[in-house]
Amino acid sequence: MESTEDLVSISVTVNGRRYADQVEPRWLLAYWLRDRLGLTGTHVGCDTSQCGVCTVILNGQAVKSCTILAVQADNGTVLTVEGLAQDGTLHPVQAAFSEAHGLQCGFCTPGAEMLAVALLEENPHPTEAEIREALDGLLCRCTGYQHIVQAVALAAERKGRGA
């Protein structure tokens, strides 16, 4: 275990709330969120940044939190799945995932949703091919992706209507 001198102070805004903490430089953002903040919605599915189930939005960009160090998020803003719903109302992406049956076991779902949120920020009216392309950073073993693709399209349609 490293001595306290090796700890680094960080300050990160997560889901609108500011957290100050002392972390080891090697701690991964995913585990900091999960173990220190109790935000266990961000899951870890691999250790080589392929599966994308750990995806969060850091400073406006979708990143794989299992390959980002917590110290890299210092002074940054992180949005996790827990921060999507506002005042008990599901984010349109969350509502669409449920409506289109875009999840089965639910393990990749937080990552899939964060990817979808980032996609729709960048491209509010994606084609089906663009959605499939954007999901390249995600592995889902249950759904065969089809209902995920439909969920993202549904969310885009709703957002387009200003819902």
């Binding site: 266990t40 919605g41 899951h43 599915g45 996790t80 076991c105 992706y145």
Partner: protein, 782 residues
């Protein structure tokens, strides 16, 4: 009350899962919890000369290092739970931690427990194991060759089992007009649910009770086996599997790891968590498939199939995993004739030990291996006699009026209409037009392929008597309790253990319809051995057919009890009271009625019950099915092969499935999509690769190609409905059909596309390199 069975009801599990509030095993956080990391063998086969854990133990924060020697006489061996009769099964002890010898890359030799996960990882790397590497064998055929290194001294020739069913004499083949022979390799696959395995254990020293949260498809089976390994009374062990992130068979098995974590919690008196990382999953969680099959088919020039003979070598890995011996025998060998009326058929299987990760059930478990070989053989036979593969299929289908149909191995198919599903698929793709398009494109130098798979499978496992007869060391019935509270709210306790299948929703649909209680008033409880009386779990597409049927029976018992109470309260004869849409009504007197929930309250109050009726409103059922279920259908894949690169593009995929009476079509579609994508994964991309030295070369998602969204066109699904006649819901399993059907459909399509080059067969996965080599006559891969 609207009918709920058959409606695309939105899943209630989603409410927690879409907001990140699921409770997966790694989400369990307990005060004082510490972390375990396994030290695993980097060698496929080696003698352990010694283990030096002193440096690890000296690291601050390290609580303990356990080795195989420490656990001798403390923990029992990890047993297999399937002992097929007349198979001469060589069971060899599988110690939770290797003692003298490691037998595969990933075999655990030590467990380190430390205050945090980073320290535990550091300490695991500081454990020094002195290995003496030994010769290893990974390939199934190499393992049965003369002079191969032995995996276990007491399994000569590395033969773990030898099993036979049926007999087809040589004369049948000698006399046949046409004989087709082919050798198939079913490559090894890695299950890869997105949630790796994990366990958290907590010991209560005051009561001696141990709780294990774990990634399980079958908590009661895990409790039963773990109790034996740990030497703890079964009633002092609680296994909890709340949210489980997919399983695909890999979370059926009982592994050493969960027992080790439980033991550590008991010894250290601290909660212990262990979470597999992905690379660990590749080596330490069971694999699937891995057969070599030699298949012979005898038939007539008119397309009639006369006989089928299968000889298979199944790689079982280094140890016999929980269901491993049953997968390539019972679940494979008894259904190799598929949906065809083949008068004579036989299967002979050698289960083989190798220095590789143990192989066990993987989505479909045995049935994909069977379906692939028969669906490929049909195409090879069609090619040999110059007949359309669709016509060959039609000619040999078990006809609709022949059900129940007993196949050559004595398995009785419950119901089916294979022709109807095929016809639907042909219409959907416009087969004649598609063949014309194929011909036109070929003239332009573009190569389209059309592939069929008209599958049937055996699932809904299964009658317990059959389980016993085939050597499965458990029952295959299912338990359900339906508890109606005084307020009319209902809790359902099921022994099924869903991990993505949506049974919190579908089971509530069944109960809502059967009891006429609002869907919102019903909660489905699963995955906890302390709350659920008994259960055999979720696998083999059994939960709805068996667990759902248990629920239907329990509901019927409540309805009948309610009827007696209602008749008494309404001062009518029991037979004059009818139950409809949640109300008991006196026949012909519409204003004399009572709702089910009102009756439930009366049952609880017990102020005025008819004689002989006990208070309370709860019923259970231990439903033991009388047969398996046999879903079927036709899948069609349309591919285009680029001869310049060998790349295969999946252009269209049509699936017509018949899973009996549908409960929730939305969930069925999801199961079918996911299954198909997994099946296509085997056909085109996935494959575990071992080096000759037994090193696993595919140990991450960088090396092991998983299906991705952009590889697929939208899958087109349709259904026919042929209810199963032997369960109260008329349902058949649907969890594995896609995986079973898709693989041969896609391979048949690719081989069809390669017709101009006279390619007869290619083994999977059909990677661009393999296809390119076939086209350009460059022989086998590398």
């Amino acid at each position: 009350m609207n009918a709920l069975i058959g409606q695309p009801v939105r899943r209630r599990e989603d409410a927690r899962l879409v907001v990140g509030r699921g409770q997966f095993t790694d989400d369990v956080q307990l005060p004082g919890m510490v972390y375990a990391v396994m030290v695993r063998s980097p060698h496929a086969h080696a003698r352990i000369r010694g283990i030096d854990a002193s440096r690890a133990l000296g690291m601050p924060g390290v609580l303990a290092v356990f080795t195989g020697r420490d656990l001798e006489g403390v923990l029992g061996s990890v047993p297999t739970a399937w002992i097929p009769p007349n198979s001469d099964l060589k069971q060899t002890p599988h110690r939770p931690l290797a003692v003298d010898t490691v037998r595969y890359v990933g075999d655990a030799v030590a467990m380190v427990v430390a205050e945090d996960r980073y320290v535990a990882r550091d300490a695991a790397e500081a454990v020094v194991v002195d290995y003496e590497p030994l010769p290893a064998v990974a390939d199934v055929m190499a393992a049965v060759a003369e002079g191969a290194p032995l995996v276990h001294a007491d399994a000569p020739g590395n033969i773990a089992l030898h099993w036979k069913a049926g007999e087809v004499p040589d004369e049948v083949f000698a006399r046949a007009e046409v004989v087709v022979r082919q050798r198939f390799r079913q490559q090894r696959l890695i299950p890869n649910p997105m949630e790796p395995r994990a366990a958290v254990a907590q010991y209560d020293s005051a009561t001696g009770h141990l709780t294990v949260w774990m990634t399980s498809q079958n908590p009661h089976i895990h409790r039963f086996i773990l109790a034996g390994i740990l030497g703890i009374p079964e009633h002092h062990l609680r296994v909890v599997a709340q949210d489980v992130g997919g399983g695909f068979g890999s979370k059926i098995s009982c592994y050493p790891d969960e027992a080790l974590v439980a033991h550590a919690a008991r010894v250290l008196r601290r909660p212990v968590k262990w979470v597999e990382d992905r690379s660990e999953h590749f080596t330490a969680t069971t694999h699937g498939r891995d057969h070599v099959q030699e298949v012979e088919l005898a038939g007539r020039r008119d397309g009639t199939i006369e006989a089928l003979r299968v000889k298979a070598w199944a790689n079982l890995g280094a140890y016999l995993s929980t269901a491993a011996p049953g997968v390539p025998t019972i679940l494979f060998g008894l259904i190799v004739n598929g949906c065809y009326r083949i008068p004579q058929a036989s299967t002979e299987v050698f289960g083989v030990y190798t220095h590789t990760t143990p192989v066990d059930a993987y989505r479909g478990a045995g049935r994909p291996e069977a379906t692939y070989l028969i669906e490929r053989m049909i195409d090879l036979f069609a090619d040999a006699i110059g007949m359309d593969p669709v016509e060959v299929r039609r000619k040999n289908f078990v006809p609709r009026d022949q059900f129940p149909y007993t196949n050559p191995f004595g398995i009785t198919y419950d119901s089916g209409d294979y022709e109807r599903a095929l016809q639907r698929a042909l219409e959907r793709i416009d087969y004649a037009a598609l063949r014309r398009e194929q011909a036109a494109l070929r003239a332009q130098g573009r190569y389209l392929g059309i592939g069929f798979s008209t599958y049937v499978e055996m699932c809904g496992l299964g009658p317990s008597e059959v389980a016993g007869a085939v050597g499965f060391q458990g029952g295959l019935w299912e338990h359900a309790t339906v508890r109606v509270h005084p307020s009319g709210k209902v809790q359902v306790f099921t022994g099924a253990s869903p991990h993505g299948q949506g049974e919190e929703t579908t089971f509530a649909q069944i109960v809502a319809e059967k009891l006429g209680v609002p869907f919102e008033d019903i909660e489905v409880v699963h995955g906890d051995t302390d709350r659920i009386t008994m259960g055999w779990g979720t696998y083999g597409s059994r939960s709805l057919a068996v667990g759902g049927s248990a629920l239907a029976v329990a509901c019927q018992r409540l309805v009948e009890k309610g009827q007696r109470i209602a008749a008494h309260r309404l001062e009518a004869a029991v037979e004059d009271v009818v139950f409809e849409a949640g109300r008991y009504q006196v026949r012909g007197v519409p204003d004399r009625s009572l709702g089910f929930q009102e009756v439930a309250l009366q049952a609880h109050l017990a102020w005025n019950l008819p004689p002989g009726v006990e208070p309370g409103m709860e019923a259970s059922s231990a439903y033991n099915p009388s047969n398996f279920t046999f879903p079927f259908g036709t899948h069609v894949a349309v591919v285009e092969v680029d001869p310049a690169t060998g790349a295969v593009e999946l252009k269209r995929y049509v699936a017509v499935d018949d899973c009996g009476t549908p409960i929730n079509p939305l969930i069925i579609a999801g199961q079918v999509h996911g299954g198909i994508v997994q099946g296509v994964g085997q056909a085109l991309w996935e494959g575990a690769v071992y080096g000759e030295d037994g090193q696993l070369l595919t140990t991450s998602f960088l090396d092991y190609a998983m299906p991705k969204a952009r590889f697929f066109p939208p899958i087109e699904t349709e259904a026919t409905v042929t209810p199963s006649p032997h369960n109260p819901l008329g349902v058949k399993g649907v969890g594995e059909t896609g995986t079973i059907a898709a693989t041969p459909a896609v391979v048949n399509a690719v081989i069809d596309a390669l017709k101009p080059w006279n390619v007869r067969h290619l083994d999977m996965p059909l990677t661009p390199e393999r296809v390119w080599r076939a086209i350009h006559g460059k022989g086998a891969q590398g």
